[in-house]
């Protein structure tokens, strides 16, 4: 097992996984928030655009987005993000992760809005709060609290889905799944190796699960 770490940069592979997760999460949060706002807006056209985004990207396999980004966008449409092939694939992987998970983030935020009983909005208006005040003081705090748990599961799904980047990253700078493939092909199958990689993901996702569960319980709105 010691040799494994010497011969293969497993730590480096997990570092790529972490980088993809963080960058993808930031991108997904930004795009997802915009889509969520469009989806709950009072303007019909914006709602349709938001719903269209969610329905298209949530129903497309992430693998397809990854392939399309490199084979379609970069090679044929010429939208390369870097001269270096591996850097180009890496950047497109981040974009594909962001675009794909933004749909899930938008739905998580919207489900947060859905947890608010209508009486809350009505009460806010009844005591004379303006639109801005009722948003700031009454509705948005409750919406964000209700969205914590689904956002947590989206983040965990995103960390696991960074492995899909293996289909375009190649073996020069692989993330965890690509590295497992290299190791398995060279060294043969070993449950210990698989266990090592699996535990790597448990270590990455378990604390986040615990943290978000705690947070959502602590922040839960008593009703």
């Amino acid at each position: 097992m010691g040799d494994l770490f010497e011969n293969y940069d497993i730590i480096g592979a997990f570092w790529v996984t972490i980088q993809l997760s963080v960058l993808g999460a930031v991108g997904a949060l930004v795009i997802g928030t915009i889509v969520a706002v469009m989806r709950v807006s009072p303007v019909g056209v914006l709602r349709i655009l938001g719903a269209g985004y969610v329905n298209i990207f949530r129903n497309t396999p992430l693998t397809l987005l990854m392939f399309f980004s490199v084979a379609g966008m970069a090679f044929i449409l010429g939208l390369t993000l870097s001269e270096n092939l591996s850097t180009n694939a890496y950047r497109w992987a981040v974009i594909a992760l962001s675009v794909y998970h933004a749909g899930f983030v938008a739905e998580a935020l919207r489900s947060g809005v859905n947890t608010i009983p209508a009486g809350q909005a009505e009460a806010a208006r009844a005591i004379g709060l303006t639109f801005g005040q009722s948003m700031r003081e009454v509705l948005l705090p409750q919406a964000f609290r209700g969205a914590i748990a689904p956002l947590g599961s989206t983040l965990i799904a995103l960390i696991k889905n960074t492995t899909v980047a293996a289909v375009i990253l190649g073996t020069t700078k692989p993330e965890a799944a690509g590295m497992l493939q290299v190791v398995t092909e060279n060294e043969g199958a070993s449950l210990a190796t698989f266990g090592l990689f699996a535990i790597g993901f448990v270590v990455l996702t378990l604390p986040i699960g615990v943290l978000f569960t705690r947070l959502s319980q602590k922040m839960a709105v008593k009703r």
Binding site: T60, F68, A118, K160, V167, A189, A220
Partner: protein, 318 residues
């Protein structure tokens, strides 16, 4: 256009909404124009590239339909095995035997937190591929199905568990009080209702499985997505091939989602279960404060029973 967050608009707000409508349409038009202009520059709008999809029956027979059948085959096998796996381990997690409960819990939690692709790669490159198990041509299918079964089976096990938990306490008590044993109460009273309640969620899970079969590309499974590169090299139209395949996936999954919500409405309106109808798989992160309470999206407990908030808010199905 009123909904939960917004008051009925007055004249000023209506004006603002009109401006936003125009801006939204402009935004959509600009994006569409950018995409089309970029594709035109790269020569991807040539009719010749798209024509085979309309005129060439061979393209559909040899590639798209063959790939789609492989995708559906892998997905169907996975969903059947995953349902069996899920019911077995879901019941295991509800068992009164501590050891069975613990082992089932570890198995379910482990396979839920390991990425599917990691399992696929390990199974194929480690065992099925080199040993040509069960045969040289089906080794990739076996790896796809087994990996999808382990992951989705664990998700379904959680569904079974939360389905049973969402039933009112009286159901179990009634079973016990008419003299059924603990396990026959589970089998004959609780499980049938829980399975009915989780039917919509099971259909939604089929969408997840269908999308994840595309991961088989990495282990050379000839699924629908895999045909994109074949079509691309045969007809030299990679971009149109991806677009068409993407559309097939979106259409198929969207239809499945519609079926799921139909089934959900039917179960709800006919009162086919005493508990809550589950529409999505339970989260890895549990949202409710009470232990043992299932996370049910878009629903909350009101006065002891679960009411669907999405039915009241008007921006659900637009």
């Amino acid at each position: 256009m009123s909904n939960l967050l917004f008051d009925a608009p007055g004249p000023k707000a209506r004006m603002r909404h009109r401006i936003l409508t125009v801006l939204g349409l402009a935004l959509a038009a600009v994006i569409a124009w950018l995409v089309l202009a970029k594709m035109k520059d790269a020569g991807q709008l040539d009719g010749a590239l798209w024509k085979p999809f309309v005129t060439d029956g061979e393209l559909w027979r040899e590639y798209l339909l063959a790939g789609l059948i492989n995708t559906l085959k892998a997905a169907a096998l996975s969903v059947v095995f995953a349902a069996i796996f899920g019911i077995v381990f879901g019941m295991g997690r509800l068992s009164s035997n501590l050891v069975i409960r613990f082992v089932s819990g570890v198995v379910v939690e482990f396979f839920r937190s390991v990425p599917v692709l990691l399992m696929m790669i390990f199974l194929f490159f480690g065992y099925f591929g080199p040993q040509e198990f069960p045969s040289a041509s089906t080794s990739s299918l076996a790896a796809v199905v087994l990996a999808l079964t382990l992951y989705n089976g664990s998700v379904i096990a959680e569904l079974v568990r939360s389905g049973v938990f969402s039933l009112p306490k009286g159901q179990r008590e009634a079973g016990l009080s008419v003299g059924l044993s603990e396990s026959s109460t589970l089998r004959t009273v609780l499980l049938p209702q829980a399975l009915t309640a989780m039917l919509p969620a099971l259909i939604s899970q089929f969408v997840v499985i269908l999308k994840d079969t595309a991961l088989g590309v990495q282990i050379t499974y000839p699924d629908l997505l895999n045909t994109a590169s074949q079509i691309g090299s045969r007809y030299s139209n990679t971009v149109p091939a991806y677009v068409v395949i993407g559309l097939i996936f979106v259409l198929l999954n969207y239809l499945l989602t519609l079926v799921a919500s139909r089934v959900e409405k039917k179960i709800r309106s006919k009162g086919m279960t005493a508990g809550a109808v589950l529409t999505t798989a339970p989260n890895l992160v549990q949202g409710d404060a009470n232990p043992g309470e299932p996370t049910v999206h878009g629903m909350e407990r009101v006065g002891g029973r679960i009411s669907d908030l999405t039915q009241r808010t008007r921006f659900e199905d637009d």
